[in-house]
């Protein structure tokens, strides 16, 4: 989500300023934002892969990873996604792509070094669950609505505030700011919910909730020891990562794309108890 916001925000500022100074109306603006959302839908996977320095790998280059994902695909009843590897020490993984057929699953060399095979399997199952649940598509659409609200807000900022005799400019501004804030929060909540969902699906597909738990613990532990410049580099990519690169602070929870680690571990532990038949 951070990436989505970052890219959208960047495009916005440029386009909105350019268009407004050229005297464009609301209709034109809507078309432009719709176009940008579509472009994001179609280009975000390539952009994300490039930002991470990830390369698609063939079965010959990464036979183990391919075979692992193929088996998970049979279990999850999914077509095989493209598989990419990013050469970085940050232990992470993410999924991109607007549809199941166009999906790309990426792992970093760091995560492949850090985790045991069955832990990596849990993480890849989590990313495949994002693919299965159409999370990229849904979050892009969600961000489109937030974008429209934001556009209305910017529009009224430009035209509502320049001293005309109508009070409606201020009302529009306040209303759209409120809409934007609410839709932004809802979007983050939706994202957090979908992370839980993906954890759950991953546990079901592998049948090993505890393997994903130990993977999450290892990754979050390793995250804090990674050098700072790597963390900053990773900051933009948080949205589709399995664990955001920095997890601290409790007020941040509300503004976070991912649920807190303890909550995720707790839910996985509950799944494990259900599986073992020791929970009511």
């Amino acid at each position: 989500m951070a990436l989505t916001m970052f890219l959208l925000g960047l495009l916005y500022v440029g386009f909105v300023v350019a268009l407004l100074s050229a005297g464009a109306g609301v209709g034109v603006m809507l078309v432009v934002i719709g176009g940008m959302t579509l472009a994001q839908l179609f280009l975000s996977d390539k952009l994300a892969l490039r930002a991470m320095g990830a390369k698609e790998v063939s079965p010959e280059e990464a036979p183990g990873l391919h075979a692992m994902i193929e088996r998970l695909c049979i279990q999850a009843d999914l077509p095989k996604p493209k598989i990419a590897v990013a050469d970085t020490d940050v232990p992470n993984a993410f999924a991109m792509g607007r549809s199941q057929k166009k999906a790309v699953v990426c792992a970093t060399t760091g995560i492949m070094r850090t985790l045991e095979p069955h832990e990596l399997e849990g993480v890849m199952a989590h990313e495949l669950a994002h693919v299965k649940n159409h999370d990229v598509l849904i979050m892009t659409i969600a961000s489109f609505f937030a974008s429209v609200a934001a556009m209305m807000m910017q529009f009224s900022l430009f035209f509502g505030g320049d001293g005309d005799d109508s009070p409606s400019g201020l009302v529009i501004l306040l209303a759209s700011a409120l809409v934007y804030a609410i839709s932004f929060m809802l979007m983050l909540a939706l994202s957090r919910y979908r992370e839980f969902s993906a954890d759950r699906s991953a546990a079901l597909v592998t049948g090993r909730p505890s393997a994903l738990s130990s993977a999450l613990m290892k990754i979050s532990g390793a995250m804090e020891t990674v050098p700072q410049h790597d963390l900053r580099e990773a900051e933009r990519m948080n949205a589709f990562f399995i664990v955001p690169a920095s997890v601290k602070g409790s007020i941040k929870t509300l503004f976070s794309t991912h649920p807190p680690m303890e909550k995720r571990l707790e839910r996985l532990a509950q799944l494990e108890r259900q599986l073992q038949g020791t929970a009511g």
Binding site: P59, E60, P63, A67, M68, E70, R71, C73, I74, Q75, A76, D77, P79, K80, K101, P117, H118, E121, A129, K132, N133, H134, D135, I138, L190, Y193, R194, F196, S197, A198, R200, S201, L204, V205, T206, G207, R208, L275, Q276, G277
Partner: protein, 189 residues
């Protein structure tokens, strides 16, 4: 999938097995043998995810005992192997092809009646063409077969697989979506 399921993140359960079409292999084997000259390798296998739960272990043990019991009549040999991906293989060996299919079906129904049908990955039948193997893999989730012809470590003969589809497609429910023809490397058959 309902709208809410879609919005909130998919089905709550792992997909279970499709209606069983495992037995389609029994008739197809006759055609493979007489029509195409492909003899079966007297071996078949089933591969599943072993779960680390007490009742799952018990079901597998019971199934193996059941197989050993019926093996006294049929002469089927059973071997267990764990592969490097953490999956378990039950490999059956029998001169009678039909006994192989019946035994595989026994294993899958045992796991399904124990509530673990969703752990079944695939069943594999091995045939022989000039000394190298041709596999037919049965995907339990989709209830379909697909051919798999390895031509080396990590490489497969897709042309031969497509020809096999054309040759046997009338009798075997072949997976239409070739992107689901997942390889299984180093099949212990």
């Amino acid at each position: 999938m309902g709208f809410l399921d879609g919005l909130l993140g998919g089905k709550r359960q792992l997909k279970g097995p499709a209606p069983d079409r495992l037995f389609a292999m029994t008739t197809a084997q006759v055609t493979l043998e007489t029509g195409l000259g492909l003899a079966h390798r007297r071996k078949a296998g089933i591969v599943f995810q072993p779960l680390g739960t007490a009742d799952f272990t018990q079901i597998v043990t019971e199934t193996e005992e059941l197989l050993t019991g019926s093996a006294e009549d049929t002469g089927t040999k059973i071997e267990t192997a764990d592969d490097e991906f953490g999956y378990r293989w039950l490999v059956l060996e029998d001169d009678e092809f039909e006994d192989l299919v019946v035994s595989l079906n026994l294993i899958s129904t045992q796991l399904q009646s124990g509530g673990y049908g969703d752990r079944l990955l695939a069943a594999v039948f091995a045939f022989d063409e000039g000394g190298s193997p041709i596999y037919f893999i049965y995907n339990f989730k989709r209830g379909t077969y697909y051919p798999f012809v390895p031509s080396g470590k990590q490489s497969r003969d897709t042309e031969r697989e497509l020809r096999l589809k054309a040759q046997i497609g009338g009798e075997l429910p072949i997976e239409e979506d070739a992107s689901r023809w997942f390889p299984l490397w180093e099949i212990p058959l």
